[in-house]
C-alpha cells in the first residue's frame, strides 16, 4: 500500500499512511502540513499507534489544531482532521 496525498475538496486534503510505521506517518504529516495554507484541513489516516502521539505533540508544538479524532470500530486505523493554524 503506497502513501496517498490527495486533494479531497476545497481546502481539504487527505494523507493516507496506513501500513507505515514510525517515522513515516509523522514525517509525511509534517511535510503535508507545511504545504497547506492557514485554515485548510488535512485528514491523516494511519494505523501506527505511536505515530499518533508524535503527531499530537507536533501539532501542540506548532499550534495546529486537531479538529477531530476518529478510530475505526474494532480496528487500529485512525482518522484525524488537522486544521493548519
Amino acid at each position: 500500500m503506497a502513501v496517498k496525498f490527495e486533494k479531497t475538496g476545497d481546502g481539504a486534503y487527505m494523507l493516507d499512511v496506513q501500513g507505515y510505521v514510525c517515522p513515516h506517518p509523522q514525517l509525511y504529516t509534517k511535510k503535508g502540513l507545511e504545504k497547506l495554507k492557514q485554515g485548510e484541513i488535512l485528514e491523516v489516516v494511519f494505523d501506527n499507534p505511536s505515530s499518533g502521539e508524535s503527531i499530537l505533540a507536533m501539532c501542540q508544538s506548532e499550534g495546529n489544531v486537531i479538529v477531530s479524532q476518529e478510530k475505526e470500530t474494532g480496528k487500529s486505523t485512525m482518522h484525524w482532521h488537522i486544521r493548519k493554524s
Binding site: 486533494k7 517515522p23 513515516h24 511535510k31 499507534p49 502521539e53 499550534g63 479524532q69
Partner: protein
C-alpha cells in the same frame, strides 16, 4: 467525532475505550502461556526459576515499553524530525529514576552490572546504530515491543539485527584487513585458545587487540570514593546520571519546548519562576512516558537484585553453570553463556540467530563473542532469550488490552528499510558492545560514562538519519503525489 484543539488537549488521556472481549481473552491466553512455561519448567527442574526470573522481568519490560511507547529511536528522531521532545524527556526522567534505584542496589552489594571500557568505539558504534534505528523506526527494545503490537516490520528489524551481528562477529578473510597490525599483535599476545582462531576474524582482533586494553570504570571508582555510599550516590547517581540528564533536559526545554510554552501560557512573565513552571510542564507533559520510566527504573533495579539473589541461592556465577548442571550443551569453551543479570537486548537475539546458522552447518563458534564468552545455546534454553520473548508477549498483552494490537504486513519499502536499518543496528551494536539498552540505558544509570559516549554517537547518528529521511520523503512526495504541488 470529538473536537480536540491541540493547545488544550492532554496527550495522556486518550478517549476511554472498553477493551474488546476477544482482546481480553487473547491477553489472558498469552499470560497463561507464560505462566504455564514458568510453572512447567519449575516442575521439571527447580533451577529453571532462574529462567523464570528473566521471563517475568521481560514481561514487565514489554508491558511498560508498550504502555509508554518507550523508544530511543522515537526520542532522538522525533526531536530532530518533528520537534517533539516528549520521548527524549521521558527517557531522561527514566535515566534519573533508574540510576537512583541502581545506586541503592549497588550499595546493597546486589548489583550485577560491570562497566564497559572507555573508548572511541562507543561513539562510532552508537553512530552506526543511531542511523540504523531511524531507518527502521525503532531501537532494539522498541522493535521488540512493536513486534508485540503485531508489526511484522519490527520483527524483520529484530531478525536483521540478530543475523547481521552473527556476520559481524564471525567475519574473517578480507575483513581481517580492516584492523591495524598493532591490534593483531596485541591479540596474539593475549594467548587465546587456538580453537577461537583469534587472528582470523576482525571482531576478535577488535576485542582482544583493542577493547580489552582499554580501561573500564564507574564514575564512583574514577573519583576514588572509598565509601560505597558516596561512590554510588555522588559518583554514579549524581555526577554520571542526574547532572548530565538535567543538562540535557534544560537544553531540550530551551530549544524545543520554551517557545511553545510561553506562546500558550500568556500570563505575566515572572522570570525564573515562569521558566521553572515551563520546565515542570515539559517534564509532566506526558505522564505515560514518565510512568513507564518510573516502572522501568524500579523493575530494572529489582531485576539486578533478584538475579544476584538467585545466583547466590543456586550457587552459580553464570547461567552456564545451570545448563552444564542440567546436561545441556551450547556453552562457550569457558562453560559460560550470555547472562548479564539485568535488562539487555541484542546479544541474546544474536545467539538465537547463531544457533540457526549453526544448524545450517556453518561454524560460528570460532570467535571470542560466541566461542569464548557467550556460547550458542538452544534458543529454548537460553535464559536471556526468554526475557526477549516474554518482552514481546508483555507488549502484546498491553497492546491487546488497549485495542492496539494488529498484525501489520509491511510494504516492500518498509520491509527494505527495516532490513537495511536492522543491519546497520547490528553492526553498530557489536562495534558499540550493545544497543540502546546495553550500551546506553544500563551504563548511564550504573555510573558507567561509556554509556554517554554511545548516547552521543547515537544522537549524531539519529540526526544524520533524520536529515536523510527528510530529504527522501520530501523528494518522494514531490515526485509521486500531484497534490504536493499545491
Amino acid at each position: 467525532m470529538t473536537s480536540l484543539p491541540c493547545n488544550t488537549v492532554n496527550v495522556d488521556t486518550p478517549p476511554i475505550a472498553v477493551t474488546e472481549p476477544r482482546n481480553v481473552i487473547s491477553a489472558f491466553v498469552i499470560l497463561g502461556f507464560f505462566a504455564l512455561v514458568s510453572l512447567g519448567s519449575f516442575t521439571v527442574d527447580h533451577r529453571f526459576i532462574y529462567y523464570s526470573a528473566y521471563l517475568w522481568f521481560g514481561f514487565i519490560y514489554g508491558m511498560t515499553l508498550q504502555y509508554g511507547r518507550f523508544c530511543m529511536a522515537s526520542a532522538i528522531r522525533d526531536l530532530f524530525a518533528v520537534g517533539v521532545p516528549r520521548m527524549a524527556v521521558g527517557i531522561m526522567i527514566a535515566v534519573i529514576l533508574f540510576s537512583l534505584v541502581s545506586a541503592f542496589v549497588t550499595v546493597a552489594g546486589k548489583s550485577t552490572f560491570h562497566p564497559s571500557p572507555i573508548g572511541l568505539y562507543s561513539v562510532i558504534g552508537g553512530l552506526i546504530f543511531g542511523i540504523g534505528m531511524v531507518y527502521t523506526g525503532g531501537c532494539a527494545s522498541g522493535s521488540l515491543y512493536k513486534t508485540g503490537e503485531g508489526s511484522i516490520a519490527a520483527l524483520l528489524v529484530v531478525l536483521s539485527l540478530a543475523f547481521s551481528q552473527v556476520f559481524v562477529v564471525d567475519a574473517g578473510g578480507w575483513f581481517n584487513h580492516l584492523v591495524p597490525t598493532a591490534w593483531t599483535q596485541a591479540t596474539v599476545a593475549q594467548n587465546l585458545p587456538g580453537v577461537i582462531t583469534p587472528t582470523n576474524g576482525w571482531y576478535d582482533q577488535f576485542l582482544a587487540g583493542y577493547v580489552w586494553n582499554l580501561t573500564a570504570y564507574t564514575v564512583g571508582e574514577l573519583l576514588g570514593f572509598t565509601n560505597a555510599i558516596y561512590a554510588a550516590f555522588i559518583g554514579n547517581f549524581l555526577i554520571n546520571s542526574v547532572i548530565p540528564a538535567a543538562l540535557i533536559l534544560t537544553a531540550i526545554y530551551m530549544h524545543w519546548y520554551r517557545k511553545a510554552y510561553l506562546r500558550d501560557n500568556q500570563t505575566e512573565y515572572m522570570g525564573f519562576r515562569t521558566e521553572l513552571a515551563g520546565f515542570w510542564s515539559m517534564v509532566t507533559a506526558s505522564k505515560r512516558t514518565a510512568i513507564a520510566g518510573l516502572v522501568l527504573g524500579i523493575a530494572a533495579g529489582l531485576h539486578m537484585w533478584v538475579m544476584d539473589g538467585l545466583q547466590h541461592r543456586l550457587g552459580i556465577t553464570n547461567a552456564g553453570d545451570l545448563l552444564k548442571g542440567m546436561g545441556f550443551s551450547g556453552l562457550s569453551i569457558q562453560d559460560t553463556v550470555f547472562d548479564p543479570g539485568y535488562f539487555y537486548i541484542t546479544t541474546q537475539e544474536a545467539q538465537g540467530a547463531a544457533w540457526v546458522v549453526q544448524k545450517l552447518g556453518i561454524n560460528v563458534t570460532d570467535n571470542i563473542f560466541f566461542g569464548l564468552d557467550n556460547g550458542v545455546p538452544n534458543p529454548l534454553l537460553n535464559p536471556v532469550l526468554w526475557m526477549s520473548i516474554s518482552l514481546v508477549g508483555g507488549s502484546a498483552v498491553m497492546a491487546l488490552l488497549n485495542n492496539e494490537f494488529k498484525f501489520k504486513m509491511p510494504t516492500l519499502e518498509i520491509a527494505t528499510w527495516a532490513i537495511f536499518g536492522g543491519i546497520l543496528m547490528g553492526i553498530g551494536a557489536r562495534v558499540g558492545l550493545g544497543c540502546n539498552i546495553g550500551s546506553f540505558f544500563a551504563p548511564v544509570t550504573n555510573g558507567d560514562p561509556s554509556g554517554w559516549l554511545f548516547g552521543l554517537g547515537m544522537t549524531v547518528g539519529g540526526l544524520i538519519g533524520v536529515k536523510f529521511f527528510n530529504w527522501w520523503i520530501g523528494r518522494k512526495m514531490a515526485k509521486e503525489m500531484a497534490a504536493f504541488d499545491l
